[in-house]
Amino acid sequence: MYTEKVMDHFQNPRNVGEIEDADGVGEVGNVKCGDIMRIYLKVEDNVIKDIKFRTFGCGAAIATSSVITEMAVDKTIDEALELTNKQVAEELGGLPPVKMHCSNLAADALKTAIEDYKKNNK
């Protein structure tokens, strides 16, 4: 059902945890199945220097959280804002159709965290 890459990220998720003095934090909930994802950012010179996540959700939710942190790190916040669900799913080698909505969660959480950072630094 899941690709090897999904299972790898599920089993060995990168960047799990919190950042104590985060510059931005975003939390989103998934109406579809009730999952929750939170992303923490550390930003320097508009570049994401550190990123961590916590997720309550299925294997796909955990894997997409993990992979989006890898994709976002070292990107400028503008670049990071352009990451799409589709890219996340593709990076994982695809997701089962019923699980496509889980990748929304990751992209949305990242976006929310970046917006939080922007608000804090207005």
Partner: protein, 385 residues
């Protein structure tokens, strides 16, 4: 890798001695039981014998009260739609519970769409219906009560005998889905006092794709499918002979399993005890009136599919009532109707033991589950806040 199968409520492994009785029907005994010639007649005898085995295993009075179907789902559909169609002149009200298997639940929903009135009885925190609510739901239009004997998710056993008394007083047919209970607790159609009863092969160490509906003599039931005269014209189509013979043997073995189940129950209790040692873990279902094989716990702060996948990677097969495993919006309707919150239901874990489950299996699970739970909780935004 060690593999521990604890999903016997989903399906059971076929017992080798059941395969043995099936094999001849995949070899030399290949005739069509409807044929007049000896290739057919010799097979017919074995279909008759299997019917007798099933009848005896549930203490039916007559062999012909057994109708073979393609499984539990079809038997539930046949019972509910078949009675509804046969009695539509008499009334249009059906009573069921809110925690039925989808085979009954969705069938009642379909009837509701067609204009039947369906009452779905609520259940208490343990998943048991309320007999007073049942009584007050009955009206002169009520034609059928369909209520599962034991629940597939939480193992809760319903008071079918008491329901039967009420049904009889009002002259209403009673159907029970005994797919999960059969082979685990006594299932006797006369003691239960039911008019229709569903069983399924693959839940009792028999083959998949075969089941049976018990139909008490005289019960009005309309066939859903049309064609040959098989199964007393109630269920046409060339018989799945190997499946039927396998079901016959499986039913015979199931009715002799009650002792074995006491051993299983001990292991179940040890498993429950071990799991409840974790923080924020709670048993779902009834503390006593539950199937001897069923463990169902809610583990707070984590989600079921992630748990199942993690267990799977350790070789442990389990299931969950999580919304994420079903692809639907809500977690298990059973857990929700028992009053669990969306989140708590989301983190449910069902482990169902079988005849082959060993003490080592239980030890292994009790070693792995806490580690996995800790790992997932550490990933969870809900934990430790």
């Amino acid at each position: 890798m060690k593999r521990v199968y604890l999903d016997h409520a989903a399906t059971t492994p076929l017992h080798p001695s059941i395969l043995d009785v099936m094999l001849p029907f995949y070899k030399e005994l290949f005739g069509n039981p409807s044929s007049v010639h000896s290739f057919g007649r010799e097979v017919k005898k074995h279909v008759d014998k299997a019917r007798k085995q099933v009848a005896e295993s549930i203490n039916a009075d007559l062999d012909e009260e057994i109708i073979f179907t393609s499984g539990g789902t079809e038997a539930d559909n046949l019972a509910i739609l078949g009675v509804a169609a046969a009695l539509k002149e008499k009334g249009n009200h059906i009573i069921t519970s809110s925690v039925e298997h989808h085979a009954s639940l969705d069938t009642c929903d379909a009837l509701a769409k067609e204009g039947y009135r369906v009452t779905r009885l609520s259940v208490d925190e343990h998943g048991v219906i309320d007999l007073e609510e049942l009584k007050s739901a009955i009206s002169k239009d009520t034609i059928l009560i369909t209520l599962m004997h034991a629940n597939n998710e939480v193992g809760t056993v319903q008071p079918i005998e008491k329901v039967s008394k009420i049904a009889k007083e009002h002259d209403i047919y009673l159907h029970t889905d005994a797919v999960q209970s059969f082979g685990q607790i006594p299932v006797d159609v006369n003691q239960l006092g039911v008019d229709l009863l569903t069983i399924s092969g693959h839940k009792i160490y028999g083959p998949k794709g075969i089941g049976a509906l018990y139909v008490r003599k005289g019960t009005k039931l309309k066939n859903l499918a049309h064609g040959g005269g098989q199964e007393n014209k109630i269920r046409p189509g060339t018989e799945n002979v190997a499946g039927i013979v396998g079901l016959g043997k499986a039913a015979e073995m199931a009715s002799n399993s009650v002792d074995e189940m006491q051993e299983v129950e001990k292991k179940r209790d040890r498993l429950i005890e071990g799991l409840l040692k974790m923080d924020d873990v709670k048993l779902n279902g009834h503390p006593e009136k539950r199937l001897p094989t069923n463990v169902n716990v809610s583990i707070e702060y984590i989600e079921g599919e992630a748990l199942i996948l993690s267990l799977d990677m350790e070789g442990i097969a389990a299931s969950s009532g999580s919304a994420c495993t079903s692809g639907s919006l809500d977690p298990s309707h059973v857990l929700m109707h028992m009053g669990l919150s969306h989140q708590t239901a989301h983190g449910s874990l069902r482990l169902t033991l079988g005849k082959g489950t060993t003490d080592e299996d239980i030890d292994y699970v009790l070693d792995r589950v806490p580690k996995i739970v800790e790992r997932l909780r550490n990933m969870s935004p809900l934990y430790g806040k």
